[in-house]
Symmetry: C2
Subunit: 208 residues, 2 copies
DNA sequence: TGTACATCAGTGAACGCGCGTTCACTGATGTAC
DNA sequence: TGTACATCAGTGAACGCGCGTTCACTGATGTAC
């Protein structure tokens, strides 16, 4: 039998989500360090003081947004990296996946790109931790690949982080291209694919 | 004969520079989009209204900081990329150069990393333009290299931008390591060197 | 060189405004019996 | 099922404060003769 939340709990979660959504919208045009608590509650339509029932501060809300933006991506990344088909196709599929993710969640991607080096330390730390997890996970999947025979753990992690950084750069370029014509997005996809391919060629010929 | 600035002009430039310096200091712990004009003037010790004699807004000050942070780097990058010696040594020298630059100008590097995707559009644009110039310049130098025979202009630019992005990532990692122990900085240098080397290996075996 | 006037970087008072945070509250929901 | 009490998400008034911007000003520097 499914556990139904009480009415009170359900309403609270709804308000909390509304605050997160409103904040994410406002953050398209500013940084977290200038986001005001009153702005957020005004956008939702609740009293400023209601904010404190859910978050200690806007920085606290920011770390919740990091979890929302990156927390659910881990399985997706694992399967994308691990799927064993032709290396060239795998890269094209990865780039395609990034493009679709940026289309579907532009505000989340923008938030991560912006706050990764932003002015709010707890949020930077939360993002860094998530990206480090991505790095480890990509490393784990790469390790299973026969191509990784003879690779040290350090070198595998070095390569994994190179891929992760490259994915982020690509996502951020797709984001910029969202407002432009479709050709621009196609150009970004082609450049990203060739860069990933070049890295993969480097991997094939690597001797530690 | 050298042209001496009038006393008035000299004093004005001095105040302007003091505003830029103070802003850069304040931006170590926040984003430009939350930097207040009064904060800056207070830090310098002038009246808030004096700000308007030099900048229209904090966004305007931001674009001036972009020029200060990146404008003088073009010759340095050109010579680093173009110097023709062993490829492995060139990479080590480049990483070393980045490390020293981060040591010498940590606040400038932080500012660029933070505002590249920050909440102030004119500043993002100014940074994008400077980085695009870096990409073109690196491409020009790579083109002179005998290794680039048979490479299309597009592929050379793709590779050049890969190097530029990699330099930025490396600079940002050195920045984080600044507060840590010396071993951490050494680790960053080694990882960055190997990543650059892997990219260069990819370059050697690239077939368009 | 000296004088009379123009320029303009920096001042200081004043303004209206939105901010984060506190506090006691209300009334719907939850719980014990 | 009905009743009496507890919980707690959201309210609304109030606070002191710093913000960006305006304006007329001052007095050192610059310029014309």
């Amino acid at each position: 039998m499914s556990h139904t939340l009480g009415i009170r709990q359900a309403q609270k979660q709804k308000t909390r989500q509304a605050l997160l959504d409103a904040a994410l919208g406002l953050l398209e045009e500013q940084s977290l360090s200038s986001l005001g608590l009153r702005e957020v509650t005004r956008a939702v339509g609740v009293a400023p003081t209601a904010f404190y029932r859910h978050f200690r501060s806007t920085a606290d809300l920011g770390t919740a947004l990091v979890e929302e933006a990156l927390g659910s991506l881990h399985p997706m990344i694992r399967t994308t990296v691990s799927t064993a088909d032709d290396s060239g196709e795998r890269i094209e599929r990865a780039v395609e996946l990034i493009a679709r993710h940026v289309d579907a969640y532009p505000a989340h991607v923008r938030f991560i790109a912006r706050e990764r080096h932003g002015g709010v330390q707890p949020v930077r730390n939360a993002i860094r931790e998530q990206l480090a997890r991505f790095g480890q996970e990509v490393k784990d999947e790469l390790a299973k690949d026969p191509e990784s025979a003879g690779w040290s753990e350090d070198d595998l992690l070095m390569l994994a982080n190179l891929y992760v950084d490259q994915m982020l750069i690509t996502a951020s370029l797709f984001l910029e291209a969202l407002e432009g014509p479709a050709e621009e997005r196609e150009r970004v996809a082609q450049v990203a694919t060739r860069q990933m391919r070049l890295i993969s060629i480097g991997r094939e010929h690597w001797r530690s």
